[in-house]
């Protein structure tokens, strides 16, 4: 465990709750603790707070409040979206189009559907980590009922051409009126870039509270009016029959406050993060050789930097940095701890070595230049130390970095 300084550079995995968010939430733990389904005053107080939060979350994404369904997190939002649409549309077709770099939750859901006889087309993302709209066009079939492409990737931050895919799906629907819906996982994007469901043209959109400075335990699914969605958590009238279960009022209130702050502070947060990231990437580039930056340098979220360090393995680097109090991640948060090379980095066409040596640094609104300096001081040393112990190091001078 780190002794002195702690620098958290893993904001894509989760963020600390903002003190303002905690303050907004606290009353709903104690005095205002009512069940939002209760008819009495305690209940109505909670109900009103949930409604306010719903409006804030809706505003963040340009939706109507009654199109927002609160759930327990981003994974549940993705489950409700994909399983809900597929269950409801099953009679019309059993084909889904998605990308090769979706979050593990979406990946897992698609694999489960395949086991039940669904067909899944996974679009390539090429070296820059971005889906091509032509590929979506080409993949569309008469029995396609769902297109799900994430708005921004969680490992490399690349932003996908959602608007274009949205209009493609819409025009497909107009050509011959049919059941085809478009979902986008905006868990990483929300609060970090402008979001508007009308502009994006999506029918469903997933959000997670803990990625935008609210506590873990809340999320939301945007469901455009008219979308047929089979509920997944059954047995109660909550959330307009779309998600049963006593509403997690404190988490929802916090989510609402965090959504409001994200909207108000988005530009300044993004500018801050980009500034830190530029200093960081420039510094790493100057100080460490044999590295490869992953993901389109321009078409990325402002806060993510993903770098493959050759000749060493990500987890060793992660733990070496952790021993110095620096928190980063390898692969996506969910799959770290397993030994698979990041499927996202592999999807860029990198080899196993580069995939295993990939580290995600993700900045947050509270990081400082001093944080970056600290990391820039330590990182080169740590990398060098590990390389000295690596049997691959002998390749160092022989082969130039090549990115297949």
């Amino acid at each position: 465990m780190p002794e002195n300084r702690r620098v958290y550079l893993d904001h894509s995995a989760t963020t600390p709750a903002d003190p303002r968010v905690v303050a907004a939430m606290l009353p709903y733990l104690t005095e205002k603790f009512g069940n939002a389904s209760s008819v009495h005053g305690f209940g109505q107080e909670a109900r009103a707070a949930v409604d306010r939060a719903r409006r804030e979350v809706a505003t963040l994404i340009g939706a109507r409040a009654n199109e927002v369904v609160f759930v327990s997190g981003g994974t549940e939002a993705n489950n409700l979206a994909i399983r809900g649409v597929c269950e409801a549309a099953e009679a019309h077709g059993r084909h889904i189009i998605t990308s090769a770099i979706e979050h593990s939750s979406l990946r897992g859901i698609c694999e489960a559907l395949e086991k039940r006889g669904w067909e899944v087309t996974r679009l390539p993302v090429y070296e820059n980590g971005i889906v091509k709209v032509e590929d979506v066009q080409e993949a569309l079939r008469p029995d396609t009922v769902l297109v799900s492409v994430m708005l921004a990737n969680n490992e490399i931050g690349t932003i996908q051409p959602i608007e274009e895919i949205g209009s493609l799906v819409r025009s497909e629907r107009q050509k011959s009126p049919r059941n085809i819906w478009f979902h986008t996982d905006a868990v990483q994007a929300a609060g970090r870039m402008e979001l508007n469901v009308e502009t994006l043209g999506c029918d469903l959109l997933s959000l997670s509270a803990h990625k935008l400075y609210a506590p873990k335990g809340a999320g939301a699914l945007y469901v455009r009016r008219g979308v047929r969605l089979a509920p997944q958590n059954l047995g109660g009238h909550q959330e307009r029959e779309r998600r049963a279960g006593t509403e997690g009022v404190p988490g929802i209130v916090a989510f609402g406050e965090a959504a409001k702050l994200a909207r108000q502070e988005m530009d300044q947060r993004a500018a801050h993060e980009v500034r830190l990231r530029n200093v960081f990437e420039k510094g790493v580039n100057e100080r460490v050789d044999d590295i490869v930056f992953n993901g389109d340098p321009a078409g990325r979220l402002p806060h993510v930097s993903n770098i493959s360090f050759r000749f060493i393995e990500g987890e060793g680097l992660l733990i070496s940095l952790d021993l110095q109090g620096i928190a980063v991640s390898t692969g996506s948060a969910c799959s770290s701890g397993t030994l698979e090379p990041s499927p996202v980095v592999i999807a860029l066409g990198r080899n196993d070595e580069l995939a295993r040596g990939a580290i995600r640094f993700s900045f947050g609104k509270d990081n400082t230049e001093a944080d970056v300096d600290y990391v820039l001081e330590l990182l080169p040393r740590v990398v060098e130390k590990l390389r000295q112990l690596s049997p691959l190091n002998k390749l160092r001078k022989l082969e130039p970095v090549s990115v297949e």
Binding site: E313, E315, S320, L339, D352, P391
Partner: protein, 128 residues
């Protein structure tokens, strides 16, 4: 970090890392499933391991097992070294989670390769 103090100590201050000039034998084994790789170089004098050095590529347990293994075997005869078990090595690093046991297995395997190679008088399995 989900590891013990002993583990962290080996990881931060690896013993006997690097190449070994004038090694009598060098073995490098890889785990074909996950790509982990351990290289072990030994100086053996009249059946006794006088020096051992390792290089590791893979998750931290591979490095730590390499480090601990060199400590365990230095000064032992090759016969004694062959008796070192995976369990002993795991104990020497302060325990390993189930899903990281393969790192210790790789280390033992590399040790056997090195010693057996030497016994049969063969060439190093992976020349320097």
């Amino acid at each position: 970090m989900p590891y013990s103090q002993i583990f962290k100590n080996h990881f931060e201050n690896p013993r006997n890392g690097g190449e070994l000039k004038g090694a009598d034998v060098v073995a490098e084994e890889t785990n074909p499933v996950c790509g982990d790789r351990l290289r072990l170089a030994l100086k053996i004098n009249e059946g006794t391991i006088e020096a051992a050095r390792f290089l590791a590529y893979g998750c931290p347990p591979v490095l730590v097992c390499g480090s601990a293994l060199t400590e365990l075997i230095q000064g032992k005869t090759t016969e004694e070294a062959l008796l070192v078990t995976r369990k002993q090595l795991v104990a020497a690093v302060g325990g390993l989670p189930l899903r990281k046991q393969h790192a210790a297995a790789l280390a033992i395997e590399t040790l056997r390769s090195a010693i057996e190679n030497k016994k049969s008088g063969g060439k190093p399995t992976f020349p320097t």
